[in-house]
């Protein structure tokens, strides 16, 4: 459109009245910067060891587009129904919402969408191409399953070797029924293996099949877990009444019905295994005390778990160290203890030291020791480099030997389901890169993170976090029914509406509405800034509630 310029006053109107639009006026030529719609990573996603694109799937739940939301979750996380129950949700620690009120209950929303998927989505077998290279996965715990899942989705044929008669690893043997019901586990695993992953049960590598045979595969991912309970090196620790907590949990999970009615069980430890063992023993009728070296606040187990255990009747003895065990009779044991004191030094570090003359002893029928687990490195090939307790891998799960990768508890210091899943996914990426002769770094995303200061909080009202319904403590302790019943559909929608969608455009139209030059065009929920008219004022950047627009310098130096 051309601009009209009058050549004499006679042809002009009497007042300043528009005769046409102002498209001739290319205001964009005035600017040195231009806004660019650019999604960033929300801190929840960065803090998620699996890398789930949380704000995107939450936005889809908001829109009740559950199938799309489920698919987004499954891009990274093969088992949301499981992680929604058992993950200790580091995503919520990073949630920007905490600066306004409380972080979002992301785990409840993940569980919701995971359960929805189990009910509504049927797995179709994927086509795998043997020409691309067959992959062996050793161990069917979360790390092995994650690696197998991501590789089959990329079209690689995968065989999983499992020495037990059932798949699942620590998910099946380490986590109690009341936290992760077997029916949920079975359905979730079935949905994954049905993609076309070959599962060879009762097949222990190194015994039923040799490592040399596995070397015929194009790549091998080892995720044999960490099942060896750490020793305390204390007098009496080998007595029959002293038992590793993990062993106890595995037996319970395998279906053994312990009768601990009227028995006193002492659990040593302060992590989630200690809590699981304590609550399981409680359900078998025992009176249970946890002996923790630290104060309750500094325990490694999540505050929710501790809270629920206390509700059920588990006693927590803080700041207690164990010096040894004494045999009383075949059924009884004395535990010699000493009290600790807690000191905080100048740099905020907490130190525990023995309190003089504070020795005491407790009598119990059974002691369960949860002082951590190590991997059994003896079963691994000799030529892989190891340190004292774990296998050496880089951030991509690469071992010292080409084509051998490892992850999960075997290789990680953070022995949780989420980290195991993440390590499986990363190794799958690295294996793909290896087979395609690419650099694994090239597969890593350029990470931009939305900080809470980049948000426009004026757009969000304070709204309290929704709560999950829990089984009554009296009902809980007499059986293994799932304790956490999740959120109602109503609560799910209320909770998901609290999500800021940090760094993630959700087509709120603010940039479109506020543009003073009408330079933001909208088409099918996508925005385009017309640089001919954009003056670079930055109003859209300011008014974007969620930091999904960046101001870029057109020429010259960076801002």
């Amino acid at each position: 459109m051309k601009r009209r310029v009058y050549t004499s006053q006679q042809e002009m109107p009497e007042v300043a009245i528009s005769e046409s639009g102002s498209e001739w006026n290319l205001t964009g030529t005035w600017s040195t910067v231009v806004p660019v719609h650019q999604n960033k990573n929300a801190p929840c996603r960065i803090d998620c060891p699996v890398g789930v694109d949380i704000p995107v799937y939450l936005d889809l739940i908001k829109q009740k587009k559950y199938l799309k939301a489920f698919k987004i979750v499954k891009q990274t996380n093969p088992m949301p129904a499981i992680t929604g129950r058992v993950c200790y949700h580091p995503c919520e620690d990073g949630c920007n919402r905490k600066i306004l009120d409380q972080p979002l209950a992301i785990h409840s929303l993940e569980r919701f969408i995971g359960d929805w998927g189990l009910e509504n989505v049927t797995t179709r077998k994927l086509k795998a191409d043997p020409e691309k290279g067959k992959i062996a996965v050793v161990g069917s715990g979360p790390a092995g399953i994650s690696c197998a899942y991501h590789l089959i989705k990329k079209g690689y044929p995968v065989t999983v070797f499992e020495k037990e008669s059932q798949a699942g690893g620590m998910l099946r043997f380490g986590i109690p029924e009341y936290r992760l019901p077997e029916r949920v586990l079975d359905r979730e695993l079935k949905s994954i293996f049905d993609l076309g992953i070959e599962l060879r049960l009762n097949c222990q590598v190194g015994k039923d099949i040799t490592w040399e045979e596995l070397a015929n595969f194009a790549a091998v991912f080892i995720a044999t877990g960490a099942y060896r309970s750490r020793k305390m090196n204390l007098p009496g620790e080998n007595l029959d009444q002293v038992k590793p907590a993990l062993e106890f949990l595995i037996e319970a999970n395998l279906g053994r019905k312990f009768d601990l009615t009227g028995q006193k069980v002492l659990v040593l430890g302060r992590g989630n295994t200690a809590l699981d063992a304590a609550r399981t023993a409680l359900r078998f009728g025992a009176e249970v005390s946890i002996l923790s070296r630290s104060g309750r606040e500094e325990m490694i187990a999540t505050p929710e778990e501790i809270q629920m255990a206390v509700e059920e009747g588990v006693q927590i003895l803080e700041l207690v160290d164990v010096a040894g065990f004494e045999w009383i009779d075949p059924n009884q044991i004395r535990v010699n203890c000493i009290r600790l004191q807690r000191e905080v030094n100048r740099s905020g570090q907490i130190k525990y030291s023995s309190l003089a003359d504070s020795q005491f002893s407790l009598t119990g029928n059974l002691v369960l020791v949860a002082k951590g687990q190590d991997a059994d490195l003896q079963i691994l090939p000799q030529n892989l480099t190891k340190d004292s307790s774990s296998l050496e891998v880089d951030q991509w799960g690469r071992t010292s030997q080409e084509k051998f990768y490892a992850g999960g508890d075997l290789a990680l210091s953070n022995k949780t389901v989420a980290y195991a899943l993440g390590s499986g996914r990363k190794a799958a990426l690295a294996i793909e890169a290896y087979l395609k002769k690419m650099d694994a770094q090239a597969l890593e995303e350029n990470i931009l993170i939305t900080k809470e200061t980049d948000l426009n909080l004026d757009y969000f009202a304070k709204t309290p976090r929704e709560t999950e319904s829990l089984l009554d403590p009296q009902v809980r302790k007499v059986g293994f029914r799932e304790v956490n019943l999740g959120m109602s559909q109503e609560s799910i929608l209320k909770e998901v509406a609290r999500c800021f969608s940090c760094g993630t455009c959700n087509s709120c139209d603010n940039c479109f509405t506020f543009c003073p030059d009408l330079a933001t065009y909208k088409n099918n929920h996508q925005y385009r800034v017309v640089t001919e008219y954009c003056k670079g004022c930055g109003i859209c950047v300011q008014e974007c509630p969620r930091d999904a627009i960046e101001l870029m310098v057109k020429f010259g130096e960076e801002l």
Partner: protein, 384 residues
């Protein structure tokens, strides 16, 4: 129908008879009774208009601008500081060429805080592009409001009708209130030059580049210049219908005068009486009434004041740093025309001080006898 009413009541009756569509009001002494009466007319169903009560005079004018742009006939009344608060929008209304009619009841500017009359409030708005008229009597106030509508809508410029605060606004005299059908015949429905219309959308008053602003001001000036003639045809038509005439400049006994007083508004009435007395004393004194201040009727003044006599300008205003505003404008006209009449300047009646016949007589005598120079200010009636 003749009624004994105040100047404010006369102005309000005129506004009612003009049938405005929108009246926006905000009170200020000494104008308030105009607004009150308009509200009463609307409340009693005597005027079918939208009466808008707003929170300031600035908003009054903003409301009238918006209404006027839709093609509505509009009215308001204000005074002094209220007028000053409108200042920005007075420019806007004139630039948008909107025929808004406003009564301003003259009140001096504070501080020193005052509610009484002088003309600095309206004269301070002389460059805003509004036509300005000053009234000598309540009848003239009524008739001038009616003429202002006719004129404003012909030339698409806003008009301000000024009444001296208290002297005119609050004193009573017999006024002929014309019949509605006569007014309707004189003042037909407004035909706007442009109007806001959603079926034909345009933006008005938007950013205008240097290539066009100049010419738009030129056109407004040309229109203002034409007003000096058009007002005469309007007055002639008014005179035919109503039998009263209000020329922009009125000359009284100027032909043989050795000295001619020039002044505006209610002081004119005092001067009419005073020159009769002076003529009885044998002094040949004339009087020129300046009714229209914008556009400034220079040609009419040159015609009304012959070459030769001295001129005494009674300014009921003071432009600090200069002196009387009317004398300055008159000098401009005379100098440009090559006229060498001696022009004497008296400042009188500031802040509601009475301008008395004795003061006028004194000023005439002092001017005649060269008791002060033509370039000096005669602080008439001041305790100097």
């Amino acid at each position: 129908m003749k009624k004994v009413i105040t100047g404010n009541q006369a102005a309000a009756h005129a506004a009612r008879l003009a049938r405005p569509d929108v009246v926006a009001v905000y009170p200020i002494t000494p104008q308030t009774s105009v607004s009150e009466m308009m509200a009463e007319f609307v409340a009693r169903g005597l005027l079918k208009a939208r009466l808008i009560r707003v929170e300031s005079e600035h908003s009054v004018m903003a409301a009238l601008i918006g209404a006027s742009m839709t093609g509505a006939r509009t009215f308001t009344a204000t005074s002094s500081h209220g007028l000053a608060l409108m200042h920005e929008l007075l420019h806007w209304a004139a630039g948008a060429r909107l025929p808004i009619v406003m009564v301003n009841v003259n009140r001096a500017m504070g501080t020193p805080w005052t509610i009484w009359c002088d003309h600095l409030d309206s004269l301070s708005q002389r460059d805003t592009g509004w036509m300005q008229f000053y009234c000598e009597s309540s009848q003239e106030a009524l008739d001038t409001v009616l003429q202002a509508y006719k004129l404003a809508e012909k030339v698409n410029l806003p008009a301000m009708v000024n009444l001296d605060g208290f002297y005119l606004s609050h004193t009573v005299e017999p006024v002929d209130i014309p019949e509605q059908d006569l007014v309707d015949a004189f003042l037909p429905t407004r035909i706007p030059l442009y109007r806001l219309d959603i079926s034909d959308p345009h933006s008005f008053g938007a950013l205008t580049s240097p290539e066009h602003y100049y010419e738009l001001r030129y056109k407004a000036q040309k229109q203002m210049e034409q007003v000096k003639q058009i007002i005469k045809t309007v007055n002639a038509e008014f005179s035919r219908i109503f039998g009263r005439s209000w020329p922009p400049v009125e000359a009284i006994e100027t032909q043989d005068a050795e000295i001619i007083i020039v002044t505006m508004a209610t002081a004119v009435g005092t001067c009419r009486w005073t020159i009769r007395r002076l003529r009885q004393q044998g002094l040949r004194v004339g009087l020129v009434k300046l009714k229209m201040f914008r556009p400034f009727p220079g040609e009419d003044l040159l015609e009304a004041i012959p070459e030769g006599p001295r001129v005494l300008v009674l300014d009921r205003n003071l432009s600090l740093g200069l002196g009387g505003i009317i004398q300055q404008e008159l000098k401009n006209i005379f100098y440009s025309a090559g006229r060498r009449n001696q022009i004497f300047s008296a400042i009188a009646g500031l802040g509601g001080r009475d301008i008395t016949p004795e003061q006028i007589e004194l000023a005439v005598k002092q001017s005649r006898q060269d008791m002060y120079a033509a370039g000096q200010i005669n602080w008439l009636g001041g305790k100097i």
